[in-house]
Structures are given as C-alpha cells and as structure tokens.
C-alpha cells in the first residue's frame, strides 16, 4: 500500500465517521411479548435440569407468564446489566452480586423495594444494608455467604494444636508457628489484586477495628502487618499473592495446609477432600468473631419502560424469596438464608451450618455504612496496598498511607 492509497482510505473513514456521528446512539428496546419475563442470574453452572432453573420456571408458571432465564458469569453481569439499561432492554428480574447493587442503583437502573412492594421485614438488617443507599432499599438478598477458617484436623493434631483454643490473632499465629515447626504448612488465603482479594482481606481489616474510610489507621496497619508477617515467617505461602479463592482452596485440599480462609460455597468440596476438616470463625485481633464481608446475591427489579409489568415481576420476586423456595435455593447454592426463620430450618437440617450462620450474623456488607459507590474506590487502592506489602515493595504503613491518598482523591 502506498501513501496515496492510505490517504484515500483515511478520507473514506473520516467521511464515514462524520456520517454516522449524526445517526449514532439510541438502542431499540426489544419488543418482547408481554407474557415473557426475562431473568438474569450469575449462576451459569446451573442448566435447565437444575433445581434453580426449575424453580424459576415454576414461579413463572404460577404467575401465569413464561420465564426466559439467562445465566451470566458473575464478573460479566455488571457490564451486561449496565449496557442493557443503556439500550433500554433490562431484564425484568436481575439477580446480582451484593456490592454491585449500589452501583446499579446509582446508575438509576433499579427500582426500590418500596416501589415494587417487596416485603423485606424478615431479612437480617446486616445483610439488607448492602442493598441500601440514601435511605432506600434496592433489592432483597436471596441468601448470603461469608468467610471462615477451614482446618485440617490431621495437620492440627500432628502439631498438637487444639482449634477451640484459637480465639484471637495471637493464638492463631501461635498455632501457625506450631504447625510450621511440625513440618506442615500454615494457612492459605487469596490476596490477589482484584475485588476477590479485598473480600478476603476485610475480615482481618475489620477484625482489627479499622474502618474503610481510613485505610491507614493503626488498626488497618496492624491487619496488614499480620498478613505480611505470616508471609515473612513462612506461615503462609508466597503464592497467596496470585491465588484466587479457588486456587487457594486447591492448595488446602492437597492436604498439607492447616488452615484455609474460604467460603460457605466450599462446603460440598470439603467433603470430597478425603481428610477430616472443621470450621472456626475468623478471630478478631482482640478476640471473638471478626466481621467478615457478606457475599451472595440480591434479587432486584430493573426499571422498565412498561411499568405494567411490575405487578407480575413482584409476584416472581416474592415467589423466589418465599421461605420454602429460599430454603431450596440456598441449599442448592450452599448459602446461608437471609432470614432468621429459614436459617433455623437450615441449622436443624444440617448442624454443620451453625458456624456459618453465626458468621453470617456477624458479617457486614462491603457497601454498608452508606459507603455505596464509594466502596469500589476504596477497595482498589486497598488491594494495591496488600499486594505492595506482601510482595515486599513497600512496608505496610507506607502501602496503606499511599492507598489512603489514592482512595481520598
């Protein structure tokens, strides 16, 4: 190609650009039938034969409509939901990860539970808080999960550690020291530089009494120093810096680690490891259960141009979150229910869940405390800080001071 050829191409491109700039934008709302209701969820692992999809279909049939369900990868769903709202074809029901609710609410994508007449009275306030912003509630949790410490009984026995004596950071670190002395590995977690890492750091951060509005408080520094020291002393592997919660679980499942910080959703896998395990709550610095962040999704109703659909949408939502259905769903997803009544049923059916129910009661939403959309701007510098400290490029104090500077911008 010569320069003149290129010039011609550029000229064509430019006129095309100017031509389409006037006609750009504006999506056409897909004209779906009034009896078709779209539901989007972040559970692509469930296909049409699963209990979850059967429940969706049944709720639709009961309300006299056809449900069109699409399962997306959870990281994809936020952008998909934003784009759909921009194009004016949001789904009727959107089930979305709890910290995203405030972002979508901020964007004006979601209706409030007041408009939708969804009853949230039975839901635990600490779980509902993640979906509240400026005094309004933008959805109802379908269930919750959170973090705790799984332990490998054999490894702890070999190191002569009694898990019931672990009540605070000092006793946990002492236990790790004994495990290492016995020739085994200490603890594995995920400190990856994404939201997943922040999720795993928060129990320690909050457990020190630190607050997200002040990352570099002495308490915050204490939490990061705890992690950094574990790495320095070899109680935790260096690979935590790159571990997702899944890879960190795989390390634990290999059988050499004493502890793994992981979530409710690994319960089913824990039974498959072939060794005896137990679960203790994550201790706070001074003793007692540390507040862990809540995971789990909210059922929300995006704004529609055809408000006539809301009545049926409301029926779908109350069907999905009714006590009986919530029990089925939360069992399928390995979640803890969002209401006291259903939690008690779960514990009655499976006493193993007692620790998890307690952990969920102590848990806290990441976007709670009216942080809302400020949380993402704090979380990113925070994961930058623990990555810097754990990789040795900055001491904890320095890392958190820099992070606070970035978050405060």
């Amino acid at each position: 190609m010569n320069l003149r050829g290129l010039g011609a191409v550029l000229a064509v491109t430019v006129c095309l650009l100017s031509a389409c700039s006037s006609g750009g934008g504006g999506g056409d709302a897909t004209s779906s039938k009034a009896t078709d209701y779209a539901i989007w969820d972040p559970y692509p692992q469930f296909d049409d034969s699963s209990d979850w999809v059967k429940l969706l279909t049944k709720c639709g049939t009961d309300a006299g409509v056809t449900v069109k369900r699409t399962g997306y990868d959870t990281t994809d769903l936020t952008n998909k939901a934003l784009l759909a709202a921009q194009q004016g074809n949001s789904p009727d029901v959107l089930i979305v990860d709890n910290p995203v609710v405030s972002t979508l609410a901020e964007a004006g994508v979601l209706t409030t539970t007041e408009e939708m007449k969804v009853d949230t009275a039975a839901v635990s306030p600490n779980l509902l808080a993640a979906g509240q912003q400026g005094g309004k509630t933008y959805g109802i949790p379908i269930g919750a999960n959170t973090l705790a410490l799984y332990y490998n009984k054999k490894v702890l026995d070999a190191a002569k550690v009694d898990p019931s004596t672990i009540k605070d950071w000092a006793s946990l670190t002492a236990a790790l020291e004994k495990v290492k002395a016995a020739g085994k590995k200490g603890i594995t977690f995920s400190a990856i530089g994404t939201e997943e890492g922040s999720f795993q750091f928060l129990p320690w951060f909050w457990g020190s009494g630190a607050n997200l509005t002040q990352l570099d408080s002495p308490q915050g520094v204490a939490a990061l120093t705890l992690w950094t020291d574990w790495l320095k002393k070899g109680y935790a592997p260096n690979s935590v810096l790159n571990n997702t919660q899944t890879t960190s679980w795989q390390e634990f499942a290999a059988g050499d680690f004493a502890f793994s910080e992981n979530g409710t959703w690994q319960l089913a896998n824990a039974k498959k490891t072939g060794f005896e395990y137990g679960i203790i709550p994550i201790p706070s610095q001074a003793g007692g259960t540390a507040p862990a962040p809540t995971g789990g999704e909210f059922v929300t109703a995006p704004v529609q141009s055809d408000t006539g659909k809301y009545a049926t949408t409301q029926k779908l939502i109350s069907c999905l979150t009714s006590a009986d259905n919530a029990l089925t769903t939360d069992t399928t997803l390995s979640y803890v229910a969002a209401t006291d009544a259903v939690q008690q049923k779960q514990v009655a059916a499976n006493p193993e869940l007692t620790v998890w129910v307690a952990a969920v009661k102590a848990a806290k939403g990441r976007t709670s405390d009216d942080l809302g959309t400020k949380y993402p701007k704090i979380s990113e510098p925070m994961w930058g800080a623990f990555q810097a400290a754990l990789s040795g490029s900055k001491p904890p104090q320095q890392a958190l001071t820099d992070a606070q500077g970035a978050a405060g911008k």
């Binding site: 389409c20 750009g24 936020t78 964007a107 994508v109 949380y375 993402p376 810097a388 990789s391």
Partner: protein
Amino acid sequence: MTTHAETLVRTRGTTRVRRARGPWAAWAFLAPVIIYLVAFYAYPLYRNLDLSLRHYTVRSFVQGDAPFSGLDNYRAVFDDATFLPALLHTMVFTLVSIAFQFAIGLALAVFFTAHFKLSATLRALFLVPWLLPLIVSASTWSWMLNSDSGIVNYALSIVGVEQINWLTSPDWALTSVIIANIWIGIPFNLVILYSGLQTVPGEIYEAAALDGATGWQRFWRVTFPLLRPVSAITLLLGLVYTLKVFDLIWIMTKGGPTDASTTLATWSYRLSFGNLLPEFGPGAAVGNLLILMALFFGLFYIWRQRHD
C-alpha cells in the same frame, strides 16, 4: 412481427435500465463492504473516541447524557501514577518480546530450511503454542511458575537455586510474562520467515558458495538482506500483536503485584471492567493511546517502504 417488436422493446428496455443502473449497481456492490467497515470499524472507533472525550459516571452511561469534557480523561490518564510504569512496561514487553521472538524464529526458520529427517514433524511441533487456546497456555505457564509448587522452581531447586517468586515478586513478574509471550510468539515468526526463506533463489547460495562465503557470511550477506521485506512485515505485525497483548498478562498476574506487570492494555481493561465501578472514559482514553501507537508504527512502516 410480435416477437421482433418484443425483442426491440426488451433491448431498448435493458439498455435504459443498464444506463440508469450504472452508478447504482456500483454502489450496490460497494454497499456490503462499506456497511461492514462502518458497522465494525468506523462506528466502534468513533464510539471509543467519544467515550474518551466525555465524563462518564455509571448514571450518565445509562442515561446517555455524559457531558463533553474535552481532553480531561487524557489529562487524568497522564497524571495517574500508573501511567509511566504502564508505558514503560508496554515498551519493554513489546521490544524484548519481539527481539527474542524474531531472533529465535529466524534461527529456527534457517535451521529448518536444511531438510533433514523429522524436520516436518519438528516444525509441526513448534506450532503447538500457536494452536493452543491462550487461556490454556497462560494458565499452564501460571501453574509452572507458581512460587511454591510450580515445576520451574522445583527444577531449579534440584540444582540448588532458591525459590524465585516468578509471578508474585515485583522484580520478576514482568520477566515472567515476557518469557511466556516469547514462547507464544515464536511459531508466528517461524512460519512467516520460513516461507520467506523459500523465495530466496538457491542459485544465489550456490554463487556465494563458489565465491567461498562461509555459512555465517552466507546468512548475513545473502539471507538477511533478501529477507528484509518479509522481516519488516513480520516485525510490524508482531509489534501490533504484542502492543495489545492483554489476556496472557491478565491470566498470569492481573498486571500485578502492584502494577509491576501492568501494560497499557491491561490498565485499559482494569479501568473499564476490572472494578465494581467502571471508569469507561479513562479506559477508552488508554485504549486510544494504544491505537495511536500502533498507527504510528504502521505509518513508519509505510514511510520506510516508500523510501526503499
């Protein structure tokens, strides 16, 4: 009579139609390519430019009423503490990757021109990195380079080398992704350069041999100069591909630890999609900078072509 009249009418009709159809037919033939170009190239480019010149929040993204903010996003990007390291990493990543990919690719291409038994099989084996889906090869590299249980550190420990934190140390993360990227890029260079070598006439080598040229001289005085056009396009394509490498780095290190392996491509993605609260404006601005860089090298290539 009637048939004759009909023919007359038909003939006249077709000529008229043909005359009228002339420019329209031409446009009709052009339409598919123009529609294709507009829909898949011009419009996305325009949208990306538009995104980078507006102040987007999630609300204004959905409502479509983001105010025009001129070059604010670009200013924000240039002022960001991540910008200089990301630019530097992009340059190091691209130049080092290409240098090694090209050198190793060329060496292998020359090696394979000497036909020997199993050369076809071996050549096919070298194509494997190209055929594997990137997520597979990147994940495999990520496991191999794992600090505590990776096979690379295990092999090194046998010869007494201490644990190297390939992916998790700020000193090594960039090196690790470059090594993986070189491995992935070698087949591309090998294939193009190998086919380029087929076009060098054998007589020239014979003549060189008669003149008493050594193997080394034959390479530098014959092969290399005659391969220049092919080398140039290989390098240009390699440059454009490598500038925008994203998936490999994202899978292996997420650009971390603390930006140690962040390039402009991964930064652009992180801004737009890697956070709960997307920042489309600055993300698009970084993306446009990458396009500008690729365009610059493309124009440089064309300019060199004209001067040859």
